[in-house]
């Protein structure tokens, strides 16, 4: 069902906290407690270290690739309260922009869908979310901050897809070209999942979803191609993964995907949105697929991180 194409020994001197492959699936970036970010070329099943990015002074928690139409950019966030955007020129990365306006560890970074422009969202333990927007005309970055987005701290941010078909399916107003709406979902230490929408020049809290009973560790907004509804997955310290669905982004239904054995750290949707990967403190990775009736089933799990995926 899944076959391993590459096993990369990253040579990090400490635990890895995040790994991501770029838009084309050709490069792998990893970040670790050893304060470094490494970039590998993984084309054709071989891996070669391209660069070792040193610039953070604390463990690096998360990384994110940008859409290649903005150049090869890589964002990283760290315990040292900073966000660094790295840019590649001639296979070497250099610091392109550094944002250090958070008062505590920055836990999550994600680039917005390319249609919205070059925008980066960062969630920090100081409770705020920063939206960094690049303006090509002035070649400058502008930061906007959602203060106090989550009471104790924000753990994760995820962008809504830029374009979605009208899910409530009135096909007669066919050319209803929606203006692009910027939405973010965030999860935090106040056990809440919140949805934010840009309204004019500020971000407003659109919805507050309250089901989790402990810190929300990760949120992911699904690319909605195969799902026909807005879908968000959230996972929490309470060991549950919850799937939220909505037709209009205002009223959300929640279903508990599963109660896991240990805390859940990570949820990730596939490009078509029909498969969800879940991982957590028990060192296991499981894949969940939505069937035609709309319910989710576990289709396989990666045992104990050693790269064998068992088919159920």
């Amino acid at each position: 069902m899944v076959s391993i194409i590459n096993s990369v020994d990253t040579g990090h001197e400490d635990m890895i906290h995040d790994a991501e492959v770029d838009y084309y699936g050709l490069r792998l970036a990893t970040c670790s407690s050893d304060n470094s970010v490494k970039v590998y070329d993984i084309k054709n099943g071989v891996s070669a270290l391209l660069d070792d990015l040193k610039g953070h002074f604390g463990p690096v928690w998360q990384i994110a690739w940008s859409h290649p139409k903005f150049g090869n950019l890589l964002a990283s966030c760290s315990y040292d309260r900073r966000v660094i955007i790295w840019k590649e020129t001639n296979r070497k990365w250099a610091k392109y922009y550094e944002y250090s306006n958070h008062d505590s560890s920055v836990n999550s970074v994600q680039f917005a869908p390319a249609e919205l422009g070059l925008i980066l969202a960062c969630g920090s333990s100081d409770g705020s979310i920063s939206i960094l927007t690049y303006t090509p005309e002035t070649n400058s970055w502008e930061a906007r901050k959602i203060q106090n987005a989550h009471a104790i701290g924000c753990n994760s941010v995820s962008w809504a897809p830029a374009t979605t078909p009208l899910f409530n399916g009135n096909e007669n107003d066919q050319q209803a070209q929606q203006p692009l709406v910027k939405r973010i979902v965030s999860g935090g230490c106040d056990n809440l999942v919140k949805i934010w929408r840009e309204d004019g020049d500020q971000w407003i809290e659109e919805t507050k979803l309250e089901v989790h009973s402990d810190w929300v560790r990760d949120v992911a907004w699904a690319p909605s191609v195969g799902l026909h509804r807005h879908t968000i997955a959230s996972c929490s310290q309470d060991r549950r993964v919850i799937i939220w669905t909505s037709d209009d982004c205002v009223n959300w239904d929640s279903t508990v995907l599963h109660l896991f054995d240990d805390v859940v750290w990570n949820v990730s949707f596939s490009l078509n949105g029909n498969i969800l990967a879940v991982s957590g403190g028990d060192n296991k990775i499981s894949l969940w697929s939505q069937n035609t009736e709309g319910s989710w089933q576990c289709i396989s799990d990666v045992a104990k991180g050693q790269g064998h995926i068992n088919n159920n």
């Binding site: 096993s7 990730s268 490009l271």
Partner: protein
């Protein structure tokens, strides 16, 4: 190889043509950089052969100052001052590149100095009277700019305090605090003529020395600067005076321009003895231009002095222990030292060594009185032989230790003194334990032979402290600046989530990236502990219990086969922590890359369906074969009468829409999007036929007409041949983006937009347009990720939503005869054919390229053939390829 082995020095480099006048060593002591008007040269001092890396530079200005960054963090950076310009050079992978270059001052720069602790801070002084402090991360503007009256010749950061620096102005010294930069902290009227060199004491914050034209070197205490503490009269103008890293010595050189014949210029002094130099370094045949101490390294703890002379040789001097002794410095190991000095001392008659014999048994009082209290970094607070207590203080960098030694009555007969660290020390617990262990061990060794141990112990204490501090420093040289951020435990960790150590992410189209802890790890924690903690602060509690050395996430997960040995083993242990697995998740998805490559959308519906059905059969998707067959039957004109029913059947369209819905709900985006395209094509065809047949409404034919006209546009691409046209997608080469100069797409018959065609008389309406558009767009995005640009364009042709209007460079040619801008193949005002191909001399309408310089061009394929063999224009001899690529490179920049 010309290496002269001598007792004192060896020649590291002899190079006549360098004509360098500035030299600097990097913080690891590996590289010496020499800079002059014509060359910048790098010599790796570790390598035995004269391996010199030379970069030519042509400038009419001399290099006035050069300095490597002294911190490990930015050790690859080197600052160099040329007239009024400051350049930051970046030494990376055997090449030296200029990473920054700026006009730092309005007149020539006289000196520069990196901050000793902050890797990004640099100060420059200039003849224009300003002293600027720069942050290399933000070089557009100086972070500080201090204005003075007199020109500034030197700037030096304090080696102990991160905020202080000194500047020299003629015969005066100013001491500044960068936090309060409006006026200097101290103004020292030091010399009667110009000061050439300043140097701060490496250990004591408020000691500074200045070298001047007035034949003297003066030492000041900046807290009480009215009078110099000492003055050394050298007899000739002094260019530089610098402290030795050991003892209390100082090295001076004579001003190069003023050297008198035969005089030797490189001298070593002891601050305590200002009457005569302790040593003269003999070896250079000409004046010394620059000298530096080589940073000490693990494998080599000797002190080494590197000098560059006008005779174009770079010498590395070993500082023998007797010289160190002359400066009041004694190596730690006394026995070794005694051996050395007896040998060396015999050779050198000028040095007088007072060998200190330690008698077998001495009362404590005698030991106290004989104690040599001049130990660097150590201060003896009190020694009381009646209460038998000695109190000393050691200050190394930011650490202060107050140590109390209590001597039992039986001491030194087999009973060691008791060492105790007083509570007002700021030592970490671990350092304290190590220090006490070392001292206890040494004391025990000595008293077991009935020998006194105070002085060796104190010396050992300083050495140990230096080592511990250096260990910390080498771990994190930037710790001073970012101390609070560098290790876990600095912030309110209770609110920071516990780090992830395993995870899975779907990336790109069908890649799944997984990482996890290795199998052998097991969680630390009490039995019955339910789960992973939620906050980072949990680490503190657990690590504290285990009193482990480091607080990291990996310490939380220990390995079953644990080996608690020192660093080297740790590395191997950690090595397998860092695996990342990349999975190909193709099997999880219905979308298939091979199909994407094989599928076609070009041609008539029947051909497409047949081809695509065959492609699906190859990869074994029999359901798709059936689907394609049904589509073919439904959408194509009947070949014979038997199957005529479906093509015009009222349910035909519904069948297709339900097929699309089915595949979409199955998440087979590929098939859904392909069907949308085919369906769109079919409807377009039938509409076109219908509207062409209807002669009823000629009005509608009018606007449509223009869609049948071919517009020609100049297509060009950056890089490579400007005559190479590209598909109008975002450009990728090997999957990586080149800067985009997108051309407007030329329209063709296939590209007629459905909206334009949907004319009121048509009863048919395309359902779910928005949804279908979305499928097509999402599929196009997938193709883009796969790098299948051609296939993507094919799909994009079926989009009814207008693409974003193109913003960027567009070339609009002018008509050759009437000079009006033309957009079509025929000029609108003079009705001539706008553009003729220079090869075939016919009207060029379709894909056309032309040279941006001479304006000649023609059919793309004709030009391609021509330029395969030639590089010049077929008509006028213009170097089209070269010129155009120049222009494009310019636009790009």
């Amino acid at each position: 190889m010309t290496r002269v082995i001598n007792n004192d020095y060896y020649i590291a480099l002899e190079c006549k043509d360098l004509q360098a006048n500035a030299m600097s060593l990097d913080c690891t002591g590996t590289y010496a950089l020499l800079a002059g008007r014509r060359w910048i040269a790098l010599r790796n001092l570790d390598e035995e052969y004269e391996n010199v890396f030379k970069i030519p530079r042509t400038s009419k200005y001399e290099v006035s100052a050069v300095e490597w960054n002294p911190t490990a963090h930015n050790k690859q950076l080197c600052a160099i001052a040329i007239n009024e310009k400051l350049e930051i050079l970046h030494w990376r992978e055997e090449s030296l590149s200029v990473s920054h270059s700026l006009r730092a001052h309005t007149r020539s720069i006289s000196g520069l100095n990196w901050h000793k602790f902050d890797p990004n801070i640099l100060a420059t002084s200039s003849v224009d009277t300003f002293v600027n402090v720069w942050d290399i991360r933000e070089l557009r503007k100086a972070t500080l700019s201090l204005s003075n009256v007199a020109e500034c010749s030197q700037v030096r950061w304090n080696k102990v305090s991160p905020n202080l620096f000194a500047t020299a102005h003629d015969g005066d010294i100013k001491i500044w605090d960068q936090r309060k930069y409006t006026y200097p902290l101290q103004y020292i009227t030091a010399h009667t003529s110009k000061i050439y060199g300043l140097d701060w004491s490496p250990h004591i914050e408020n000691q500074i020395t200045s070298a001047s034209q007035d034949n003297s070197v003066k030492f000041f205490d900046t807290s009480n600067p009215r009078k110099a503490d000492f003055v050394i009269s050298t007899g000739s103008p002094v260019w530089r005076a610098r402290y030795t890293p050991f003892g209390n010595g100082i090295i001076t050189v004579v001003v190069p321009q003023l050297r008198r014949g035969g005089e030797n210029s490189l001298l070593l002094w002891n601050i305590g003895n200002t009457a005569a130099p302790m040593h003269t370094f003999v070896g250079h045949r000409d004046v010394v231009l620059e000298f530096h101490w080589r940073p000490q390294r693990q494998d080599n703890t000797n002190f080494q002095l590197v000098t560059w002379s006008k005779d174009q040789t770079l010498l590395v001097w070993r500082i023998e222990p007797f010289l160190q002794k002359l400066c009041g410095y004694e190596p730690d190991d006394l026995s070794l030292y005694n051996e050395n000095c007896s040998v060396v001392g015999g050779d050198d008659t000028t040095s007088t060594i007072s060998s200190r014999k330690i008698s077998k048994i001495q009362p404590l009082q005698q030991e106290f009185s004989l104690l040599n209290v001049h130990i660097p970094n150590l201060e003896v607070k009190s020694m009381d032989s009646t209460s038998r207590i000695a109190l000393v203080t050691v200050r190394i960098n930011k650490f202060t230790v107050n140590m109390q030694a209590t001597f039992p009555n039986a001491y030194p007969h087999g009973v060691p003194p008791a060492f105790q660290i007083m509570p007002d020390s700021n030592l970490t617990d671990m350092m304290g334990i190590q220090l006490l262990q070392t001292l206890g061990h040494l004391a025990q060794q000595r008293v077991s032979k009935n020998r006194t141990c105070l002085e060796p112990c104190l010396r050992q204490m300083v050495t140990t402290m230096e080592q511990l501090a250096a260990d910390l420093e080498s771990d994190r040289s930037f710790e001073r600046v970012y101390a609070e951020a560098s290790t876990i435990g600095g912030y309110k960790d209770a609110y920071i989530p516990f780090p992830r150590t395993s995870g899975a992410k779907f990336c790109s189209v069908n890649t799944l990236v997984c990482f996890a802890r290795p199998l052998l790890t097991k969680r630390v924690g009490a039995k019955g502990d339910s789960g992973t903690p939620r906050a980072l602060s949990a680490l503190e509690a657990i690590i504290a219990k285990r009193s482990s050395d480091q607080m990291t996430v990996s310490a939380y997960y220990f390995q079953k086969q644990k080996q608690r040995s020192r660093s080297k083993h740790n590395l191997s242990k950690i090595a397998n922590k860092a695996m990342v697995h990349v999975y190909d998740g193709t099997g999880l998805f219905l979308i298939n890359r091979q199909l994407a490559e094989e599928y076609i959308l070009d041609g008539d519906v029947a051909t497409i369906c047949k081809h695509n059905a065959a492609a699906a059969a190859v990869i074994g998707r029999r359901d798709l074969v059936q689907a394609w067959t049904i589509v073919e039957l439904t959408l194509t004109q009947p070949q014979n009468d038997d199957v005529a029913a479906w093509a015009s059947h009222p349910c035909g369209d519904n069948l297709i829409t339900s097929l699309i819905r089915h595949y979409a709900s199955e998440s087979d985006l590929q098939m859904a999007a392909m069907l949308c395209c085919i369906f769109g094509k079919h409807q377009e065809n039938s509409l076109r036929q219908a509207s062409l047949k209807s002669i009823l409404c000629p009005m509608q034919l009018g606007p449509r007409k223009r869609w049948f006209k071919h517009n020609h546009r100049l297509l060009f691409k950056t890089g490579g041949s400007p005559y190479h046209t590209i598909p109008p997608a975002d450009i990728i080469a090997e999957g990586w983006v080149l800067p985009i100069l997108k051309s407007t797409r030329s329209t063709s018959l296939d590209n007629i937009r459905v909206e334009e065609i949907v004319v009121p008389p048509s009863p048919i309406k395309i359902p779910y347009v928005a949804l279908y558009e979305y499928y097509k767009m999402a599929y196009a995005e997938t193709l883009h990720r796969w790098g299948l640009l051609y296939n993507r364009t094919e799909v994009m042709k079926f989009m009814t939503i207008q693409p974003e209007p193109y913003k960027g460079v567009e070339c609009i040619p002018d008509c050759q005869t009437c000079q009006t801008p033309i957009k079509n193949s025929v000029c609108t005002s003079c009705k001539r054919i706008a553009f003729r191909c220079v090869i075939c001399n016919t009207a060029a309408k379709a894909s056309v390229n032309c040279c941006l310089i001479c304006g000649h061009g023609g059919h793309t394929d004709h030009l391609e053939q021509w330029f395969e063999r030639h590089s010049f224009c077929p008509l006028c001899g213009c170097q089209c390829l070269m010129e155009t690529s120049h222009i494009l490179a310019h636009i790009e920049a």
